[in-house]
Structures are given as C-alpha cells and as structure tokens.
C-alpha cells in the first residue's frame, strides 16, 4: 500500500480497531518501515488521546433530577398520557408517512385515472381526424369535401356541414 492509503486506514479503521487481521498486519509492517507514516499515526493517536484522556465533565447538578422528577409527577394522569403518546407518535412517526402516502396515492391516481383519460381523449381526437381524412380521400369526386387552400391547406372544409 502507498503512504496515502496507509494514512487513510490510520485515520479510521486502524486507529479504531475496526480493521481485519491481514490489513492490520499490513499497516503495522508499513508503520514499522516508514517514519513519515509513523509520525502521522502518532499525531492521530495524540488527537484522540486529548479527547479521551481529558477530564470528563462532572455529571449534571442535583437540581436537574429534581426538575425532571417534578415534571413527571405533575404530569396528567395515565389516560391523558396515552392520548398524548398517540398524538406524539402521530406527529413524530406517522405524519411523514401520511404525507408521503398521500403524495404516492395522488401520483397513483394520476397514473391510473388521469393519464388513461388523457390518452383516451387523444385517441378519440386522432380517430376523428382519421375518419375525417378517410372521408376526404375516400371519394375525390365528392364535392362536399375539399382542402381549404386559403388557410394553407391544413384544415378540411366540409361544405355541406356549413
């Protein structure tokens, strides 16, 4: 492994003892032979040690438990707790599910209802147009049907319908 790979391992898996036996052996061999990487490894150990070995904060002051205890005791009775718990579950967990569920349902409705309806409408319009074209080309002699050349020849005029 290159020095950069070794240092990547040192920064995480190696220093945190999350590395496999073979990889550990490989990193250790490199560290033994490379002063630059060994120095890097020691610097990482120092950073961790400064957090780990520093004086830990003392626990919370006694008034914290007193406040918690007071609040628990002054809370409403159990039945209200249950209702409140349900509401909080709804707010915490179910609300996003309801929102996402509604969005998914709306998309499903769009797919199942609106898209086929639109397609149906398009198909009907296409069929009408094809029928009209068939009428136009079915009988060239038919004086009732002709192209409206004044409008660029793009629309059919059915004279007897007008």
């Amino acid at each position: 492994m290159r020095c950069q790979d070794i240092q990547d391992h040192v920064l995480t898996d190696f220093v945190d003892h999350e590395v496999g036996v073979d990889q550990k052996r490989e990193v250790e061999a490199h560290l033994a032979a490379c002063p630059h990487c060994r120095e890097f490894f020691e610097a990482v150990l120092n950073v961790d040690a400064s957090i780990k070995e520093g004086p830990l904060p003392v626990g919370p002051a006694p008034h914290v438990w007193a406040k918690i205890s007071d609040q628990i005791q002054s809370r409403p009775d159990h039945a209200w707790d249950v209702v409140r718990g349900w509401w909080e579950d709804f707010a915490d967990g179910f609300r996003p599910r309801v929102v996402y569920g509604s969005m998914a349902a709306a998309m499903l409705v769009a797919l199942v209802v609106i898209v086929p309806l639109a397609a149906q409408k398009q198909a009907a319009a296409r069929a009408d147009r094809e029928e009209l074209l068939q009428l136009a080309y079915a009988d060239d002699e038919n004086p009732a049907v002709g192209w409206d050349s004044e409008q660029g020849g793009t629309s059919l005029v059915l004279e007897h319908w007008l």
């Binding site: 990547d8 995480t12 990482v44 957090i51 004086p55 919370p60 914290v64 438990w65 918690i68 628990i72």
Partner: protein, 184 residues
C-alpha cells in the same frame, strides 16, 4: 440487542415504577450530560438537554421496542437534542464555549482545578473546529468508546458515513493542532 437488565428497567419504568426510572437516570445521566456538554459547550444548555432527554425517554418508553440497547437509544436522543440546541443558536461553528468547571472541584485544590479547567478549555476549543455531525461522531468514538456499528445506530446513519465523518474530523483536528503549534 437490549440487555435483560435494560429490558427489565425499561419495562418497570414504563409501568409507572418511578424507582426504575430514577435508576435509568442514575445509570445514564452522566453520559448524557458529558456528551451534551461537549457537543454544546455550555453548562446550562447541557443541563437543559439532560432534562429534555430524560423527559423524552419517560414519555416514549412505551414506544421503545428494544430493537437497540437503551444506551444507544438514549445516545440518539441526546445527540438529536444537542443538534437542535445548536440549530436554534444558528451559529454552529461559533459556539459560546464554557468550561464544564464545577466550583466544588476547588476542594481538590486550586491548582488542580485550574489545570482541569485549562485542559477542558483546550478540548472544547479543539472540538469547536468541527461541525456538529463530526463532533458527534468523534465524541461517541473517542470519548464514549462506541464501535462504528453503535455510532451508526445512535446517529441513524450508515457505517460508511460514520467512517467518513471520523476521517474528516481527525483531519480537521490534526490541522487545528498544527496551526496552533501544539497549544491545543
């Protein structure tokens, strides 16, 4: 997986046994407080987080399914509450760090107390270089000794994200120490 002791404690506390709940507090309050204090840097805020965490634990014990350990669950609530406090402050990188210095420590001698205060200040200054997510990861690993798997469960992120946050955190801390020429 949750231990039998935790399961028993949680069950009794859920059924309204206040002694059981107090036992949960006695077991985990120190851990909650020191993580919150290192995350936030202010004693009053850390106490408020501790209070919020245990009220939240009490309220949600009914929904605690025991899929993870009680400790992991409480770590998760602690980190989330601390992150909420930091978000409310809207200045993640400029935390108003205080020392978790207890005046009662003076009983151990002024010199020791001053040294302890200076040492705590160094750690807080060092941690202030990290963003809250990185700070949470490095605290759970270096201070609390959690494995990657436990950190992943506590923070609700995958193990690779834990790994990359730890890497970034350590890189940042190495640079901070270098720039401060060993003062940190």
């Amino acid at each position: 997986m949750i231990s039998d002791v935790d399961l028993d404690l949680a069950g009794r506390a859920r059924d309204g046994d206040r002694d059981a709940f107090e036992e949960i507090y006695r077991q985990y309050a120190g851990m909650v407080y020191r993580v919150a204090l290192r995350m936030i840097g202010k004693v009053e805020d850390a106490e408020e987080v501790t209070q919020h965490v245990f009220l939240s634990v009490h309220r949600h014990l009914r929904t605690f399914a025991g899929k993870s350990s009680l400790k992991t669950w409480i770590y998760r609530i602690t980190i989330n509450s601390s992150l909420n406090v930091l978000k409310a402050r809207k200045k993640h990188m400029e935390v108003a760090w205080e020392e978790g210095f207890d005046p009662e420590d003076k009983r151990h001698g002024l010199r020791e107390a001053v040294e302890k205060e200076a040492s705590q200040h160094k750690i807080n200054v060092l941690l202030a270089h990290l963003n809250p997510d990185q700070r949470a990861c490095i605290l759970l690993r270096a201070q609390e000794g959690l494995s990657y798997e436990e950190i992943s469960r506590s923070l609700g992120i995958n193990v690779n994200t834990v790994r990359s946050r730890l890497k970034r955190a350590r890189e940042t801390l190495l640079v901070a120490r270098k720039e401060n020429r060993g003062a940190l």
